[in-house]
Each structure stands twice: as C-alpha cells, then as structure tokens.
C-alpha cells in the first residue's frame, strides 16, 4: 500500500497579510479560505512561479478565463514521432487542452519559447495545436509537455493531422488570375463588336492572348474535374464531374477552333466557370478540414505509461519501473492505482478494488474485483490498488478487437452510394447529350456551321456547375455551423441524414448523464471539511467533492498533513481537528472526526444539466426520444424521469441495442443514436446516424458518423436544425439549377445564346449558389432565437 503525504509544509512566499475570509486562488480561481493571494495547491503555486519567473505577469491581468488546476501528466513522450531538420533540431505537434482564451495561448507559447533548448514554439488559438521545434541535445519532449502541464493545460499527442491543400489553392489562384485577365481581353472584344467592329488583327491578337490564358486553366487548373470523371468511368459510375469535364472540354475545343478560324468563342465563360468551381471546392475542402481537425483532436491521446513490477533479486521486495505501454508484454506484472485506467487486459494477482466498467458494459455502478478476476483495458480503477498480470496488450485487447470488428463492418457498408447529386449525374448527362443531338438534328438542314454553333451552345450552357456546387457547399456550410456548436461530422452525407431522423435513442451512462461521479447529498459543513482534504487528491471522488464545493460557493479550507492511503481513504487536519474519509456503502463516503462522529455523503452519476432542455427541444422538433441503456431499470427510469424521457428500454446489452434500432429501421423509421461506450459500438454502427460523445471510448468515436466535442447534449439540437436548413437549401438550389439548365438549354437550342449571354448567365448561376450556402449559419442563428 502506498502512503503519500500530499500537502507541502513549505508554503509559497509573497503574500500580503489580509483579514481571514474568502479568497480566490490567484492562478486557477478556486475559492479558498485564508489570506488573499494564497494558492489553493502546490500545482498552482508552481504554475505561478513559472509565469512570474518568465516575466509574464501580464497574463494574469489580461486573461479572460481561469485555467484548470495543474495536474501532472505522466506519459511516455519519447515514443512520439518527431521530424528532424537539417540543423539538428527536431519538431512535432501537440494538442493542448484547456486553452480557452487568447492570453492562455500567449502565456503557453511564451513559457515554451523561454524554455532552454527550444528553437520555436507556436500555439494556435483556433485549433489548440502547439508546433514545437527544439534541440534534442538540450531538452526533450517530456520536459516541454511537463511545462505545459505545469501551467494547468493538458498536452496530448496528435495522430495524423490533415494538412492544408496547397495544390488546390494554387490551381484556384491560377484560375482566378486568368479569369481577371481574360475579363480584360474579352471586354475589349465585346466593346469592339458593340461599337461597330474592331480591326481584325486586334481581334485576333486578343483572341490568341485569351487562348494563351485559357490553356493552362483547362489543362492544369481544371485537371481535378477530368481526373474525377475518369476515376468514375473506370469504376463504372457516372459522377457529377463527368458532365462538368464534358462541358469544359467542349468549351475549350470550341475556343481553340474559334480562335484559329476567327469566330466568336466562349473562353471567358470557361475560365470564369473553372475559377468559380474551384472556389466552391476550396470552401468545401476548408469545411471538411475543420471538421477533420476537430475529430483528430478528439482521438488525440496521451502516450501512456504503466508501472511494471520488476522482481528484485535475492528474495527482496519488487522494484517498480515506469515503461511505455508499448513495451508491456504478456506475463508482466503491473501496478494500478486508484483513478488510473487499465492499459492492458489482465488478471488481478494482488489487492482489491472497485472498477468502473461503464465504457465497456454501460453499467454505471462499480464492480468489485479481487485476485483471480479479469480486468480489461479501457476500464478505470475507482479505488483500491491492484497488481495485475498482463494477458493481452495493444491490438490484442478485448476493447481493440471489438472496435476493429465494428470499424471493418462500417467500412464495408460505406462507399456504396454517392450523394443525391451524384445519383442525378447519369440522367443529367443523358439529357444533355439528347438535347445536343436533337438540336443538331433540327438545325442540320439550315446549314452545318449554324447547327454546330447551336449544338456547342447547348453543350456549353448545360454544364451543371451550379448543380454540382449546391450540395457540397450547403453541407460544408452546415458542417461548419454545427462544428462551431460542438457537433462534428465525418461526412456531408451523414450530416444531411441527421435532419431526416424521427427517433432519437440516447444511451444513459456518459451520454444523458455526465459519466462521472457528482455529489448528490451532503450538507455544506461536511462538504467543506471533505473538500479541505480532497482538494489535494486527483481521485475521481475527490474531484467530485471539490467540484461540488466550488459549485456551492464554499471556500475550500486549508488541510494540513493530508495523507492519502490508496484504496482506503484520505485523512488530514482541518480547523485544527483530525478527520478521515472512508468508503461507506456503495455510492456513499463517510467523513469521521477524531471523536468518532460520522457524516455521510452520497455520490452518483447524475443527468447532464442540459439533458432535460435538450430532450424538450428535440421533442419540439417533432422527434421521439428514447432512453436505451444497459443499466438496471430502476436507475434508468429515475434518470429518464429527471430529463423528461417517457420511453425507457433498460438492461439492453450491446446486441439488444443494435437489434432494437434495426427493428425500428425495418419499419421505415430513421434513427439517431448517441452513445459513448465500447458497448454502444454496434448501436452506433446500425443507426442511420450514430453520434459518439467525445469524452467516451476512442473506439466509439471511430465507429460513429459524428462526435459531440463538448460535455453536453445540446449540440444534437443544433445539428438537427442545421441539417434541416442545409437539406432545404440543397432542394431549393437543385430545383433552381435544374430550371436554369432547362431554360438555358432551350434558349441555346433556339439559337438565342451568344458568348456574351453565356458569359453573364453561367457565372451568375454559380454565384447564386455560393451566396445561398453562405446563409446557412445566419438562418440557423435566426431559428435558434
């Protein structure tokens, strides 16, 4: 059993003598008893000394948000891959949690930049990413991560991050440059024609210059459309890129012939259209990248360590060494303390404790374990202390295997059907070709040259640019609007499906409830004393007690000589008396004073504060809300009653949850399921739209279509609203573009479309679509009021 002394007798210096009363910790803002400027814990005192030592006091004056309380981040940072530069420095990117204000970003960046050995430190407010470059002979990543953690912010390792698409930006840049230049040359041509003709050699000059501008745009800038069309054809599907590529090719070839034979061409329309299409693609790519970045942030993890017991020689006690999880092997003995997550599957060999299985089974109540019991990776030891013999690590663990199976199942199901716009493409292409043939057939008798000119005009104005832009742009705008509200979607299609659901099934633990313990019953005085002891501990119960005391506005008293005995409890002196906190019956902790008097406090997993409001809002949107949980009916009905959900389905194991959802879907209902655990994976995969809680198991995040990145349910409401707005916009835009195309093709077939008319009409229709997509956010705001 480990016994730690938590309070440091050396108090932080620099304090003014003020009357005793309530004060706030100058670093993290927790209310504490005692003099002003007293730090609530050693961590905050340390953070402040770092900031003052670096001469960054401005931070305290300028910040608009308190940082979380500093906690150490023991992690195997040396396992993170780094990039080496020729000058001997190495660099990597970390995600930093808890940066809620611009000053927080600034102070983190400055503290890192002033750490010896650091060449470069950049922290982004928008994405929470820190880009670090340092000299590996003078410092290491563990030191830098510890500096970030010491300030109260939490560093995490980033996996593959989406990189900005330079290629698309360059192609767009060239097309826009050419579009502006070609506007000049064609303006001269149109003006010349309008005022009664210009000298043929000038006309020829301007046409050749236009051709020179249009050629790189067609060959290089428009290449993504040709590539898309070709890929589609090879896979025997007709994508929307096909009619676009067809239109661009016809425009360019006609322009080439027109320049040589000195007749009017459409090169200005061509360049303008390519530029607009590429701008649309870029807006779409930016929306997707934002969502992908946010999703990467959610699965960023701390490279974990384990405490491995090494058998000491000569029959003495064991040594314990800290090793990266990757280095663990089957048969190793690892120590697991209270509040820690199991990093591998194993069998308990020594000690007892209570394990929170919520992420795996969905049951909130902890399970008692003793030697001989199995434990699985991903669960958390609530209290106690165990030695575990490892039986499976890494990809061999139960949790990983379950996640992999689900991931494979989801991958097999995806990719079969394209978007609604892509499904229109074959019809569109067929209709265009048919219209072109009819036009040619109709005008053929009146002369070959006229017939060709009108057929080309039909093919040109039939280019479905507005149609192709409408769905990607509307869904990208919707993805951005929901991401700002805390709901991230992997694809535009899943996002558009969200607006069509009619049943919302919610998991209980970790979804409707916070998934963490909160104090449900305790009187203020008991809570005050308990918080005075627990403020020094990082145990889940300790956090719950301190959070409740802070929420009630109770200043934390200063505990002295506080000792935490792993698996037993915590003791210390508050107000000059000795207190101990011990575990009582399940869901209860007991505070005992030195006279043996006892006070009890109850803790439970309670509904999120916004759960009732979200349920009501979802119902107001016309949706049926169901609580679908693996927990006991009693608990499920109590939580359901609290948040206003009448239909409760309890004791549903993972397969039963999925089956229930399948049953509804087979009756034509569309189901949204939100859950957080590994046990919710099958349900997430079988629902029309699966949304995982960002704080939940990484495997559920991988399987889900969307992820809620904030600890609340409200983003679901914003998501449904935004999806409906975007879907409405897509429908309107598609009708508009089809009508536009039909009218334009009719006019072209009648011989009414000249290059000038095309140059005005075609870009205008695309601009209308882009403008429409930009209104998703403002429409959503209007509906939210």
């Amino acid at each position: 059993m480990s016994l730690r002394t938590l309070t440091n007798p050396a108090k932080p210096a620099a304090r003014r003598a003020t009357p005793a009363g309530v004060a706030r910790c100058p670093h993290c803002g927790t209310a504490v008893e005692g003099e002003a400027d007293a730090y609530c814990c050693g961590g905050c005192a340390m953070a402040a000394s770092i900031i003052h030592g670096a001469g960054l006091e401005r931070y305290y004056a300028e910040r608009t948000s308190y940082p979380p309380r500093p906690e150490p981040v023991p992690a195997a940072w040396h396992t993170i891959p780094v990039e080496s530069a020729p000058d001997g420095t190495v660099s990597t990117r970390l995600l930093v949690d808890g940066l809620r204000c611009a000053s927080c970003v600034w102070v983190t960046e400055q503290v890192l930049a002033r750490t010896p050995g650091v060449a470069d430190a950049m922290v982004s407010y928008a994405t929470g990413r820190a880009t670090l470059r340092w000299d590996p002979s003078r410092t290491d990543l563990a030191t830098l991560a510890a500096r970030i953690a010491a300030l109260g912010y939490r560093p995490r390792a980033l996996g593959d991050d989406p990189r900005p698409d330079h290629d698309l930006l360059l192609r767009t840049g060239l097309a826009v440059f050419a579009a502006i230049a070609i506007m000049g040359t064609y303006e001269a041509l149109y003006a010349g024609a309008w005022y009664g003709g210009m000298a043929p050699r000038f006309a020829a000059l301007f046409k050749w210059v236009s051709l020179a501008l249009a050629t790189p745009v067609t060959v290089w800038s428009a290449a993504p459309f040709f590539r898309g069309a070709w890929t589609g054809l090879r896979h025997r599907i007709l994508p929307m890129d096909l009619p676009i590529a067809l239109g661009i090719a016809v425009l360019y070839l006609h322009g080439l012939v027109a320049t040589v034979t000195a007749v009017e061409g459409y090169l200005d329309s061509l360049v303008m259209l390519v530029a607009l299409l590429l701008i649309g693609r870029m807006l779409e790519a930016r929306g997707r990248r934002r969502a992908a970045e946010a999703a990467t942030s959610l699965v960023a993890s701390i490279p974990r360590t384990a405490r491995r017991a090494v058998r000491g020689g000569g029959g003495g006690g064991d040594d314990v060494e800290t090793v990266p999880v990757e280095d663990l092997a089957c048969g190793d003995q690892i120590d697991v303390g209270a509040g820690e997550e199991f990093v591998a599957d194993g069998v308990v060999t020594e000690g007892t404790g209570q394990v929170r299985m919520a992420l795996v089974t969905g049951e909130a109540a902890p399970v008692a374990v003793c030697p001989g019991n199995r434990v699985v990776a991903g669960t958390v030891l609530l209290d106690g202390a165990l030695t575990v013999r490892v039986t499976a690590v890494g990809t061999a663990t139960t949790v990983h295997a379950m996640a992999q199976q689900l991931h494979d199942a989801v991958d097999r199901g995806a990719g079969a059907s394209g978007s609604a716009t892509d499904r229109m493409a074959p019809w569109f292409t067929a209709a265009t070709l048919l219209a072109a043939l009819l036009t040619f057939g109709f005008w053929w008798q009146t002369g070959l040259a006229g017939a060709i000119a009108k057929t080309v005009a039909v093919l040109v104005v039939a280019c479905p640019c507005a149609l192709a832009l409408s769905e990607p742009l509307a869904s990208a705008a919707g993805l951005g609007a929901t991401a700002r509200r805390g709901l991230l979607f992997r694809s535009g299609r899943a996002f558009l499906a969200l607006g069509e659901v009619d049943v919302v099934a919610l998991d209980k633990t970790g979804t409707v409830t916070a998934g963490a313990l909160t104090v449900t019953a305790a009187d203020d005085e008991t809570l005050r004393v308990a918080a005075g002891l627990e403020r020094y501990s990082h145990h889940p119960i300790a956090r719950a007690v301190v959070a409740e005391a802070s929420a009630r506005g109770i200043p934390l008293p200063r505990g002295a000589d506080v000792r935490e005995e792993a698996g037993v409890g915590i003791s210390g002196t508050v107000d000059g008396r000795r207190w101990t906190i011990r575990r009582g019956s399940p869901g209860e902790i007991i505070l005992r004073d030195d006279q043996g008097r006892e006070e009890s406090m109850r803790l439970a997993d309670t509904a999120r504060t916004d759960a009732a409001g979200t349920t009501a809002a979802l119902k107001a949107l016309g949706l049926r809300v169901v609580l679908l949980t693996g927990d006991h009916p009693g608990v499920a009905h109590r939580i359901g009653g609290n948040v206003g959900i009448e239909q409760v389905i309890a004791r549903a194991d993972p397969a039963a949850k999925a089956a229930w959802i399948e049953g509804l879907r087979s009756r034509g209902r569309r189901v949204l399921f939100a859950g957080d655990g590994v046990n919710d994976g099958p349900a997430l995969a079988s629902a029309d739209v699966g949304v995982a809680m960002g704080a939940g198991a990484a495997s559920s995040v991988l399987v889900a279509d969307g992820v809620i990145s904030t600890p609340s349910l409200a983003p679901l409401v914003a998501g449904v609203r935004a999806s409906r707005i975007a879907a409405r916009l897509v429908r309107v835009n598609q009708r508009f573009s089809l009508l536009y195309n039909a009218l334009a093709v009719g006019a072209a077939a009648a011989g009414l479309v000249t290059p000038l008319v095309a140059a005005v009409l075609m870009p205008l229709s695309s601009v209308v679509i882009i403008w429409g997509a930009s209104r998703v956010e403002s429409t959503l705001r209007k509906e939210e009021r």
Partner: protein, 44 residues
C-alpha cells in the same frame, strides 16, 4: 498596334510576377493558418 502589344506584354508580365509571388507565398505556408496571426499581433 505596337502600343497595344507593348501594354499587353507589360500587363501579362506583371501578372506573371504576381502569380509567381502567390505561388511562393502558398508554398512557404503563408496561407496555412489565417486565424492566429491577427490574434498574435494583439499580444506583441
């Protein structure tokens, strides 16, 4: 004719110079992050 030709050439050359500058700016990552530099400026 020669005047127009000269003006055209000068205009296209100038355009090409700016296109080249744009390429350089993109490749050196100046468009990668458009959100943070305005924030950063306020602190310096």
């Amino acid at each position: 004719m020669s005047g127009v030709l000269l003006l055209l050439l000068v205009a296209l050359l100038l355009g090409a110079v700016f296109a080249g500058l744009f390429c350089y700016a993109v490749k050196s990552g100046q468009f990668d992050d458009l959100d943070d530099p305005p924030e950063r400026m306020l602190h310096d």
